[in-house]
C-alpha cells in the first residue's frame, strides 16, 4: 500500500483530487465518459434544440428522458462499484506457457448488488495483464472469478510484479465508465516451461538413473504378460499376444532401481562469448529442457538435483524438490563473466545440458545432451506427423514437446 505522507496542502489537494476526499488512499475512483455517453450528450443537445425550436411538450419530455438516463446512470453507477472489495489469490505454481488461473475474490460491504464488473490485473507500469468479467456480485456472497495467465508476461520465466487491481463498470447504461482502483502489490514467480519429450528423445536418456532387477515394475525390459485392466494405457497392450489369447493382454516390465540424476546447467559461458539473441534463445531452451527433465525424472521417482554455476541443489525425491529446482531455474540468468562450474562428488548420473560449445572436459560417464539437436514442437504438429497420435495428459506440461531436429541423425 503506497500512502504518501505529506504536509503540503497543495499535495493533499492533489491527492484528494485523485482519490476523493472520503476515499481510502489504497482505493481510488475514476470515471470517464464513454462513446455511448458522448452520443447521448449529443442527442441531448439535438433534442433540446428541437424542443426549444418546436416548443412541443412531448419533445421536451424526451429531452428530459435523455437527461434522466444520464442522471440515473450517474446515481446508480457509483453505487454499483461502491463497497466493493477484492483480493488476489495466486495459484501454487505458474508455469510459463501453461495456463494457470489467477483468482479474484470479490465481495460487497453494502447492500447494493453490483453488475457487469470488469476486473483487471495490472503491472506496476499500468499494463493490464489479465481481465475477467463478473456479471453480478450479491451482497453477503463473495464471488470468485479468475483469469488465465495467457498474457505474454506470463510466457517467460522470472519474477512478475503485479500491482493494481481495477474493477470497472459501465452498468447500467454505459454512458460513463466508473473504475475503482485497488492497490494490491504482489509478486509472482513464473517457472520455466515444462515440455514433454517425444519417444526418440526419451530413448536417449532411457538408461539414465536406472539399474535393472528381475521384479515386476515400471522398467523397460519385459517381465511378463497379463490381462488388460480398464484405464491402463493402450500403448502397453501386446497386440500379438492379445490376438492369440482372444483378449487384451498387456506387457509387464521389470522394476528398475532408481538412481539419482544430477542435471548440470552451465549458465556461465566462456570468456569472449558475447551475448546474442541466438545465445539467449538457446539458453532459454536449455532452461526449459532442464526443467522438463527434472519434472520427467521426478515423476518417475528418481532423486533429482541441479547444479548451475550459481548454486547446487542436492539430489532428492521428496515433495517440494520440483519447486526448488523450478524456482532456481526461474531465476537463473546467463552469466557472461567466464566459465566457472565445479562438479561436486555425488552418487548420481550426471547429465550436462549443453547449449554452447565449450572446451571443458566433463568426467567420464557424464551424459551430455545438446539442446541444439532438439527443437520444440506443438503436440498437434507432432501428432500429425506420427502414425500413432496418442499423447498422455500430464499436469504442468504444456502442449508442446521436445523433438529431434529433422534431418539430424545420431
Amino acid at each position: 500500500m503506497d500512502i504518501k505522507v505529506t504536509n503540503s496542502l497543495r499535495d493533499r489537494v492533489k491527492q484528494w483530487s485523485r482519490t476523493g476526499f472520503f476515499q481510502s488512499p489504497s482505493e481510488s475512483r475514476t470515471y470517464s465518459i464513454t462513446l455511448i455517453g458522448f452520443v447521448v450528450l449529443l442527442l441531448i443537445f439535438v433534442i433540446g434544440f428541437a424542443a426549444w425550436e418546436s416548443g412541443t411538450n412531448l419533445v421536451y419530455f424526451l429531452f428530459g428522458f435523455l437527461i434522466a438516463m444520464f442522471v440515473a446512470h450517474g446515481i446508480v453507477s457509483p453505487q454499483n462499484i461502491r463497497g466493493l472489495h477484492v483480493e488476489r489469490i495466486l495459484p501454487r505454481r505458474i508455469i510459463a506457457g501453461h495456463p494457470a488461473r489467477i483468482h479474484f475474490r470479490i465481495w460487497k460491504s453494502n447492500w447494493w448488488r453490483s453488475f457487469a464488473l470488469l476486473v483487471k490485473d495490472h503491472t506496476p507500469q499500468g499494463k493490464a495483464v489479465g481481465v475477467t468479467f463478473c456479471e453480478v456480485v450479491n451482497p453477503g456472497a463473495p464471488r470468485s472469478v479468475a483469469y488465465e495467465t495467457v498474457n505474454p508476461i506470463f510466457q517467460r520465466r522470472g519474477l512478475v510484479a503485479l500491482d493494481k487491481i481495477t474493477i470497472s463498470s459501465r452498468f447500467p447504461f454505459g454512458t460513463v465508465e466508473r473504475t475503482v482502483h485497488f492497490h494490491r502489490p504482489a509478486e509472482v514467480l513464473v517457472y520455466p516451461p515444462i515440455y514433454a519429450f517425444d519417444d526418440s528423445l526419451k530413448d536417449s536418456f532411457s538408461t539414465l538413473g536406472q539399474e535393472s532387477r528381475s521384479q515386476r515394475g515400471q522398467g523397460v525390459d519385459i517381465y511378463g504378460l497379463r490381462e488388460y485392466v480398464h484405464g491402463e494405457p493402450m500403448r502397453r497392450i501386446h497386440w500379438r499376444s492379445s490376438a492369440k489369447a482372444q483378449r487384451l493382454m498387456v506387457m509387464e516390465f521389470e522394476r528398475e532401481e532408481r538412481r539419482a540424476v544430477l542435471f548440470v546447467l552451465p549458465n556461465s559461458v566462456p570468456q569472449g562469448v558475447t551475448s546474442s539473441e541466438e545465445l539467449t534463445n538457446l539458453f532459454e531452451i536449455a532452461v526449459a529442457f532442464t526443467a522438463s527433465l527434472a519434472y520427467y525424472f521426478l515423476e518417475r521417482h528418481h532423486p533429482v538435483g541441479l547444479l548451475t554455476s550459481r548454486g547446487f541443489i542436492p539430489c532428492a525425491e521428496e515433495e517440494g524438490q520440483l519447486d526448488r529446482i523450478l524456482q532456481a531455474l526461474a531465476l537463473i540468468e546467463l552469466d557472461l563473466s567466464g566459465y566457472s562450474i565445479r562438479l561436486p562428488a555425488v552418487e548420481a548420473d550426471v547429465v550436462v545440458i549443453q547449449f554452447i560449445d565449450t572446451l571443458f572436459a566433463w568426467p567420464p560417464g557424464t551424459t551430455t545432451l545438446d539442446v541444439r539437436e532438439w527443437e520444440i514442437r506443438s503436440v498437434e504438429e507432432d501428432r500429425s506427423s506420427r502414425a500413432d497420435g496418442e499423447t498422455v495428459a500430464l499436469p504442468l506440461v504444456a502442449s508442446k514437446q521436445f523433438c529431434k531436429v529433422r534431418g539430424v541423425g545420431r
Binding site: V59, F61, F65, I89, P99, V136, E148, A393
Partner: protein
C-alpha cells in the same frame, strides 16, 4: 434465460415498440408498419440462421431499399427519410451481429419515439413510452453486460481467431461457450427502480425546462416574427344536414371547465354564425382580414370562464367556445382562420389528429337573459337614455345614419367653435358605415367610438343580417311574425315571443325531410310544423328579419353529458345544435333558442359499464392533455411559485412574481396536487424499494454466508463432472488447475484415469475453441456414469 437470448429478445422488443409507437400516431399507412411486427418476431426466432447471412448481402439489401425509396423523395423528402429509417431499422435488427450493433437499433428507435412524440398528442403515447423506458433500460443493461463479457475474450489469444468470426446470435463455435451459456442475473428490481427513477427525473426536467421557442424569444426581444396567418373564410351549411349528424353517437369534443364545481347543467358551444340564407343553404356573406377572431359580442358584463377543449381526429375544423368566445389559446404555431363579424374561427383543415385548445368565453344562458335596455349605451341621436325607452327605429342602417348625422353635427360645432366654416357636404357611405368618412372622420375622437357605441362591428354586416331569400314570401312571413308578436313593443319582447311560440307550438323531429321540397322553411312554419333544430332556428331568424330585426343562425353543440371521472362534458355528434343570435343596437348580440328544450341535451343510450369504462379512459386522456401536452411556461411559473411559497417568508412578492395574469386562472392550481402526487408516490415507491431491498439483502446475506465461492461457470460437461467428484468428496481446490486436479483424481481413483483425457479435451474446448466429437461426448458421458456408479457402490457398501 441466457444472456444471449435475453439480449436478442430485448433488442427486438425495443425495435418493435418503436414501430408500434409510430403506428399509434395514425400518420403512417398500416401496410408500412404492420408487416414489421411479424418480421421482427420471425427475426428473433431465426436469429441463428440469419447470422449466417453474409454481411455484404445486408449492405446490398440496404442499398436496394435506398434506391427503391428514392422516387418517394422526389415528392416528399421527409416521407422518404422516414420510410428509409423504418427500412433501415428492420435491416439493422435482422443483420445484428455484435452487441454494439444494438446501439444503432436504439438510436433509430429513439427517433421513432421522437417522431411519434411530434405526431401525436394521444395519452397512449404515455403508456407506450413507459414501456419503452423500461424496455430500453433492460436492453441497455444486457448490452453493457454482454459487451463486458466479450471484452474479456479479447485477452484470450485462443479465442482471438474466433472473435473475428464472432456472431452474437450464432451457435458455437463462433460464440464462446462461456458467454453463450452465461445466465442473466435477475434485473427485475433494478429495471423497475431505474424506470421509476428515470420517469421521476424526466418529469422534473420536463417541468423546470424553460419554455422558450425561437419565435417567442424573437417576439420577446421585439423582433418582427412571422405574423399568424389569419384570413377570411367562407363556410356554408346545407340545410337539413344536421339531421344526419344528430343520429351519430361518436364523440365530437371533450370540454373541461376550469371550475368543474361551478359547471352548468348543460353546455352550449358556439361554432360558427351564418348570416346568408338562400333558401336551401346557410353561409357567411362577409370576408374580412381582421386579425381579432373574437370581438366582444355584447356590452353586457357576463360571467366568464376558461374551458379546455379536446377534439378527436377528423371531426371539424371549427374552434368552439361557450356562448361568446373571447380568447383562444392554441399551440403557438397553429394557423387559425377567423371572421370577427361572425365571431368564428377555423383551422385551415380538418385536423387528422387530436387537437386541444383553451377558450375563454363570456357565458350567456337563456335563463339569465335580461332586457338589453338595462345595459344599452345611449347612442346620441338615436337612443337618448338608458331608461328603457325604445328607439323609434330598429333598422341598423337607419340607426347608423342617425348616429353618423349626430357625429357630423358635433364635428361642425367643433369647426364653428374654432372659427372655421362647417362642412356642407352630404354624409358619405363611409361616414355612415365606418365612421371614417370625410365628415365624421374630421372628429378624431369619434372614430374609435363609432363601432362600440353602436354595439356592432359594422353596420353593413348587421344589414346583411336582415336578408331574406327570394324563395320566401317576405310578406307572408311578416304577417305571421306580426301575428306572433302581437302588440309587443321592444325587440327583446318580440324575439322572446317568437322563441316561445316556436318552442310551444312546434314539434321536434329527426324525420327525413324530402329532398324535392322547394321551400323547407315555409313548409316547416305553415305545413308540417315539425323538424329539427335547424328548422326552428332558421324559422325564427326569418321571422325576426321580416320584422327588420337583425338576426343570424349559430351552429354549435349543446351537451348535458357530464363525465364525473374526467370532470368534463362529453360532446357527441348527436349534440350538434343550431340556435339564433339577435342584434340589439347599443347592446350587441343575444342568444335565443327556439328549439323545444326537451329535445336537446338528451342522455346517451349506452351500456352503463361500457359508458363507465369510456368515461374513465376519457378522464385519463384529459389529464394527459392538461399535465403533459398543455404544460406551459405559466404552469412552470405556478409550480415554481408553489414551491417557493413553501420556503419563502415574503409570500406576497413571490405570489406577485409567479402569478401575474395567470393567477386569475385559479383552476390551474389543480396541477399542484398532480405534481405533488407524482413526487409523493415516486418517493414512497423509492423508499419502499430501498427498505425491501435492504431486508432482502440481509436475508440473502444470512443465507449465503455458508456458501462457498461461486466460480464462473465452466463448460457444462466439465462442471457436471466436477459436481460428481464433489459428491465423492473430491473438491477442486482454488489453487488447482484442471490438470492438477485430474492427476490427483487419477492417483486417488485409478479407475477414473480417463478423466485426465477429458480434462485435456476441456482445455481444448474452452481455450482452443475446439468442438467435441460425438465419440468424445460418449466417453464423457460414460465417465460420468461410472463416477455415479462408483458413488452408488460406495453408498451401498456404507449402508451394508
Amino acid at each position: 434465460m441466457t444472456l444471449e437470448r435475453a439480449f436478442a429478445l430485448s433488442v427486438t422488443l425495443v425495435a418493435l415498440l418503436g414501430f408500434l409507437m409510430l403506428y399509434l400516431t395514425g400518420e403512417f399507412p398500416p401496410y408500412l408498419i404492420v408487416p414489421a411486427f411479424p418480421l421482427l418476431g420471425a427475426a428473433f426466432l431465426i436469429r441463428k440462421w440469419l447470422a449466417r447471412v453474409p454481411t455484404f448481402l445486408w449492405d446490398v439489401v440496404t442499398l436496394i431499399g435506398f434506391v427503391a425509396i428514392l422516387p418517394i423523395a422526389r415528392s416528399s423528402l421527409l416521407n422518404a427519410t422516414v420510410y428509409f429509417f423504418l427500412f433501415l431499422q428492420l435491416v439493422k435488427v435482422l443483420s445484428m451481429r455484435r452487441p454494439r450493433d444494438a446501439f444503432s437499433v436504439y438510436v433509430i428507435s429513439f427517433f421513432q419515439v421522437l417522431a411519434a412524440a411530434v405526431l401525436t398528442t394521444s395519452p397512449v403515447f404515455g403508456f407506450a413510452f413507459l414501456a419503452y423506458a423500461g424496455l430500453l433500460s433492460w436492453s441497455l443493461m444486457l448490452t453493457i453486460m454482454l459487451m463486458g463479457a466479450l471484452s474479456v475474450q479479447q485477452f484470450a489469444p485462443a479465442a482471438a481467431l474466433a472473435l473475428k468470426k464472432f456472431r452474437i446470435f450464432s451457435s458455437s463455435p463462433y460464440l464462446p461457450e462461456s458467454i453463450r451459456k452465461l445466465r442473466v442475473p435477475s434485473l427485475r428490481v433494478v429495471v423497475l427502480f431505474l424506470t421509476l427513477l428515470i420517469l421521476c427525473i424526466s418529469i422534473a426536467v420536463f417541468v423546470v425546462t424553460p419554455r422558450f421557442s425561437t419565435r417567442r424569444l424573437l417576439a420577446t426581444l421585439g423582433a418582427r416574427g412571422e405574423p399568424p396567418a389569419v384570413s377570411a373564410f367562407e363556410e356554408s351549411v346545407e340545410f337539413g344536414s344536421y339531421r344526419k349528424i344528430q343520429l351519430d353517437n361518436s364523440v365530437a369534443l371533450y370540454v373541461r371547465p376550469d371550475k368543474p364545481e361551478l359547471r352548468p347543467n348543460a353546455i352550449r358551444l358556439r361554432g360558427v354564425a351564418l348570416d346568408y340564407f338562400d333558401g336551401r343553404r346557410w353561409r357567411r356573406s362577409t370576408w374580412t382580414t381582421d386579425q381579432a377572431p373574437f370581438p366582444q359580442l355584447t356590452i353586457r358584463p357576463l360571467p366568464a370562464r376558461w374551458n379546455t377543449i379536446v377534439q378527436p381526429p377528423n371531426v371539424t375544423r371549427f374552434i368552439f367556445g361557450e356562448t361568446f368566445p373571447q380568447r383562444l389559446l392554441l399551440d403557438f404555431d397553429q394557423v387559425v382562420l377567423s371572421d370577427p363579424h361572425s365571431a368564428s374561427a377555423w383551422l385551415p383543415y380538418v385536423p387528422a389528429k387530436e387537437i386541444h385548445y383553451r377558450v375563454f368565453s363570456h357565458v350567456e344562458t337563456l335563463e339569465q337573459r335580461e332586457p338589453p335596455e338595462r345595459y344599452q349605451r345611449p347612442i346620441p341621436g338615436v337612443l337618448t337614455s338608458t331608461s328603457g325607452s325604445e328607439s323609434p327605429t330598429t333598422h341598423p342602417l337607419e340607426i347608423a345614419r342617425r348616429f353618423a348625422e349626430h357625429l357630423a353635427r358635433a364635428a361642425d360645432e367643433t369647426l364653428r367653435a374654432s372659427g372655421e366654416r362647417p362642412d356642407s357636404r352630404p354624409l358619405s357611405p363611409d361616414d355612415i358605415f365606418t365612421g371614417r368618412g370625410p365628415r365624421v372622420g374630421r372628429n378624431p375622437g369619434m372614430r374609435g367610438a363609432f363601432g362600440s357605441q353602436l354595439g356592432m362591428a359594422s353596420p353593413r354586416y348587421v344589414e346583411a343580417c336582415l336578408q331574406i331569400p327570394n324563395s320566401l314570401d317576405a310578406q307572408k312571413l311578416r304577417a305571421f311574425a306580426m301575428q306572433i308578436v302581437g302588440n309587443r313593443q321592444t325587440v327583446f319582447e318580440k324575439a322572446l315571443a317568437i322563441e316561445s311560440y316556436l318552442r310551444s307550438r312546434y314539434q321536434y323531429s329527426l324525420e327525413q325531410i324530402p329532398d324535392n321540397q322547394q321551400n323547407p322553411v315555409e313548409d316547416f312554419l305553415f305545413e308540417s310544423r315539425r323538424g329539427h333544430c335547424e328548422y326552428f332556428a332558421t324559422a325564427m331568424v326569418m321571422l325576426l328579419r321580416s320584422l327588420d330585426i337583425p338576426a343570424r343562425i349559430v351552429n354549435g353543440f349543446y351537451s348535458a353529458e357530464w363525465n364525473n371521472f374526467a370532470k368534463s362534458f362529453t360532446v357527441r355528434q348527436r349534440d350538434a345544435h343550431s340556435w339564433v343570435e339577435v342584434f340589439f343596437p347599443g347592446y350587441g348580440w343575444m342568444t335565443f333558442d327556439p328549439t323545444p328544450p326537451d329535445a336537446i341535451g338528451r342522455a346517451v343510450e349506452f351500456n352503463p359499464y361500457l359508458l363507465t369504462a369510456m368515461r374513465l379512459w376519457d378522464s385519463v386522456k384529459l389529464r394527459w392533455y392538461r399535465v403533459m401536452i398543455d404544460f406551459s411556461i405559466e404552469d412552470q411559473r405556478f409550480v415554481a411559485g408553489t414551491f417557493l411559497r413553501m420556503f419563502a417568508s415574503d409570500h406576497e412578492e413571490i405570489a406577485e412574481w409567479s402569478g401575474g395574469s395567470y393567477r386569475a386562472d385559479d383552476n390551474m392550481r389543480e396541477l399542484a396536487p398532480t405534481i405533488a402526487g407524482v413526487v409523493l408516490v415516486g418517493g414512497a415507491l423509492i423508499l419502499v424499494f430501498v427498505n425491501l431491498r435492504g431486508r432482502w439483502a440481509k436475508a440473502k446475506g444470512r443465507k449465503t454466508k455458508r456458501s462457498a465461492l461461486n466460480w464462473s461457470p465452466p463448460p457444462e460437461f466439465y462442471g457436471q463432472l466436477l459436481k460428481e467428484f464433489e459428491r465423492l468428496g473430491y473438491h477442486r481446490a482454488v489453487h488447482e488447475t484442471p490438470r492438477e486436479f485430474a492427476v490427483r483424481i487419477a492417483k486417488s481413483i485409478p479407475e477414473f484415469s480417463s478423466f485426465a483425457q477429458v480434462t485435456q479435451w476441456y482445455y481444448g474446448y474452452r481455450y482452443g475453441e475446439h468442438e467435441l466429437l460425438a465419440e468424445q461426448l460418449n466417453t464423457i458421458q460414460e465417465l460420468r456414469n461410472s463416477v455415479r456408479r462408483y458413488a452408488q457402490r460406495g453408498r451401498n457398501a456404507a449402508s451394508a
